[in-house]
Subunit: 412 residues, 2 copies
């Protein structure tokens, strides 16, 4: 049921020199599916990430954070990432931490490095013990098939309720040097802003200094993965990691450089592509909806209103039904928590159709026009607040029967 | 699909002296259904209410507020309430205000009072012009059948997607005087806290001074209608009105009196009954869920966490499926926005089953026990935060296929 989601073509996913990907069928939750991924990095690589802000953040997230912090002290670079699906290793207490650490120890032995040079990730069911022995058993298989051109298989290996793998790639020339950017992501429910909110791994062969990479990953997340919502739920595990292998000649050592600006555009562009893929494949999605709130006094209130619309089950079911019951959008604007909002200044558009003028139904609006837009698979909701010059855009999907089916049956 | 919702028995709904109810089939949206209600009050009555905090509050809500404020100045009591279903008269701008006022003018003429002595209410579709002529035409029919024992029919007249009428009644003796309390309410989607969030009208024959009544209605709403959630959407229209006709001998003139305390208990009790009926008849509900958060540092954080759980589509679909995927509850606790929450102090129970101990799966927990509770139609989620002594309780329901069907088809 994905909405205009392009199936990645393996041949179009450019390898990134300095990174190899290996997968395994470890039988973590189900048999005969790729559920374990190892990303092996060149020793020149830098790595930075943003993580869920959920207080119940999963054991692997805690371990990742510790290893990335340790990096500054030890100076030993991260050498590999290991990702399992089928189990989130969240809500698992001390035992979960021990399991995440054991995963790092096992992989470090195989790769001849320190456990602190490994970053672990998990996604799947919460509150169940991680079958760490199956992961350990699967690791040699993953290492045996490490290849630079396994990005498509890597995208498959991190899927949970995703209906298809998500990957994108591009080459850009900066300062006369061609660099590669390739990334993968997975959703598909539990997507909410401000929390990295899914798994995504992106790599480039540019050489990027650690503090620059940390700035870049946060800035890209704020413009992509932090602008999507499917059901308002924020996962315990989700992470967006940016890897710079440093094998290309381009070196970016300051955020004030021309190189940074060009690189940043490319990273944000690819991040938005991967983030939007998650929404297009949102659980049960049948519509891809862009919500833009303009003329706000500040960006925060624009985002607040955009998310209020994007999270409203009533709005989302109306879009599923292609029913122009658009008063529900006004209601969502009204309860967004912008307490001094003057609704008589609010204008609402659905694509090119002017629905509400100065807070009330536009006199020329007729339902046929609303109906026409509602039937499309891609729709833009535009709200003008008449309060200022700031704006924000988010991306979301509708709420369908299929969403309920998927989430009622997820574990069965 | 309502969950253990008792069908009110007309004979058990005690009339309240000083109030008469008349209904009509005005054909506002559909034919052959009661869609217009007039509640006529004795001249001794006092009236107070709480209203939606949605900034897009409907025209009738604006008119109600103005008339209640005018009351203090004019001293002319409210003489009637008029409620229509089928159209919310919200998002209708100046024309909507004119329509709400026209309704008051029409009813005032029929009852020989001032338009400012009428309170209008609407519920139904937003953003469509109110068919005020049909309301005007229906008013004489409603007035012709005004009767003190029409509470059951009144409950029927205010239904929208409700599957059955909601009404409750009780008699209590205070200071040796028997007084009556009877109320009606309607839901059934768009239910969220802090906003009165539905329509409910309750009347008593006690004589209650205006400032006391205003205090009482707010205090009762905070303990009942503001503690329920179905889908997190907050309507533009919803209102809870408390009417004291003053025909009984009991007089309550201070909130510090013993009479007030006893009356307050009865009003809160009946309000909770009516509020819980709304949840039991929540759109598509198959489970009635009580969420209690204890050991909080303050009530606000307890409510925040309770609502985070109660609004989570992932939690709600798991309850629909009777699937003990209870990690989703931990995730919802974690993203509730209590930023200094120490998850290692959190304990989670499902009825008598201890699910999570100190933030992780309880070692003795087994899924059969969780499954057993999940299959019940009434379930209590209990969270202990280990931070203090405050607590809060809310009531909600699950998220089913039927919810999507109802809201996708609401207008068709």
């Amino acid at each position: 049921m994905a909405v205009n989601l392009p199936l990645p073509v393996a041949a179009n996913l450019n390898p990134v020199a300095g990174i190899e990907l290996g997968y395994a069928e470890a039988g973590i939750r189900k048999t005969n599916r790729k559920d374990l991924l190892v990303m092996k990095l060149a020793s020149t690589a830098t790595v930075a990430g943003v993580f869920t802000t959920n207080r119940f953040c999963a054991a692997p997230v805690q371990v990742c954070k510790a290893h990335l912090e340790g990096l500054c002290i030890s100076g030993s670079p991260i050498r590999a990432l290991v990702i399992n699906t089928g189990n989130a290793n969240a809500g698992t207490g001390e035992a979960g931490l021990a399991d995440a650490n054991a995963t790092c120890v096992a992989l470090a032995e195989l790769l001849d490095c320190e456990p602190s040079q490994i970053l672990p990730f998990s996604t799947g069911v919460i509150l169940e013990p991680l079958p760490v022995d199956r992961i350990k058993s699967g690791l040699p298989q993953a290492i045996a098939n490490l290849k630079a051109d396994h990005w498509y298989q890597a995208a498959e290996s991190i899927m949970t309720t995703d209906t298809q793998p998500k990957a994108a790639s591009r080459k850009v020339t900066i300062n006369g040097t061609s660099i590669t950017l390739t990334g993968i992501s997975k959703g598909a429910g539990m997507i909410k802003p401000n929390m990295a909110t899914m798994l995504s791994f992106m790599a480039t062969d540019a050489k990027i200094a650690q503090p620059v990479l940390e700035h870049l990953v946060k800035s890209a997340a704020d413009r992509s993965f932090n602008c999507i919502t499917i059901d308002g739920d924020t996962s315990t595990n989700d992470s967006f990691m940016l890897i710079a292998t440093g094998t290309a000649e381009l070196e970016v050592s300051s955020i004030d450089s021309v190189e940074y600006a060009e690189l940043s555009d490319a990273v944000i562009g690819l991040s938005q592509e991967l983030a939007q893929m998650i929404v297009r494949d949102g659980e049960g999605a049948t519509k891809f909806i862009t919500i833009t709130v303009e003329e706000g006094a500040n960006i925060e209130e624009c985002r607040k209103i955009a998310y209020s619309i994007g999270h409203s089950p009533l709005v989302k079911t109306a879009f599923f039904a292609s029913d122009p019951n658009l008063g529900r959008i006004l209601a969502a604007i009204g309860y967004a928590g912008v307490n001094d909002l003057d609704v008589t200044k609010v204008n609402l558009y659905l694509d090119d159709v002017w629905i509400a003028k100065n807070g009330g139904r536009h006199p020329d609006y007729n339902e046929q026009d609303g109906q026409r837009v509602m039937k499309q698979s891609e729709i833009t909701i535009r709200v003008k607040l008449g309060r200022g010059t700031e704006a924000a855009t988010i991306w979301t999907c509708d709420l369908s029967h299929e969403y309920v089916t998927i989430n009622a049956d997820y574990r069965s």
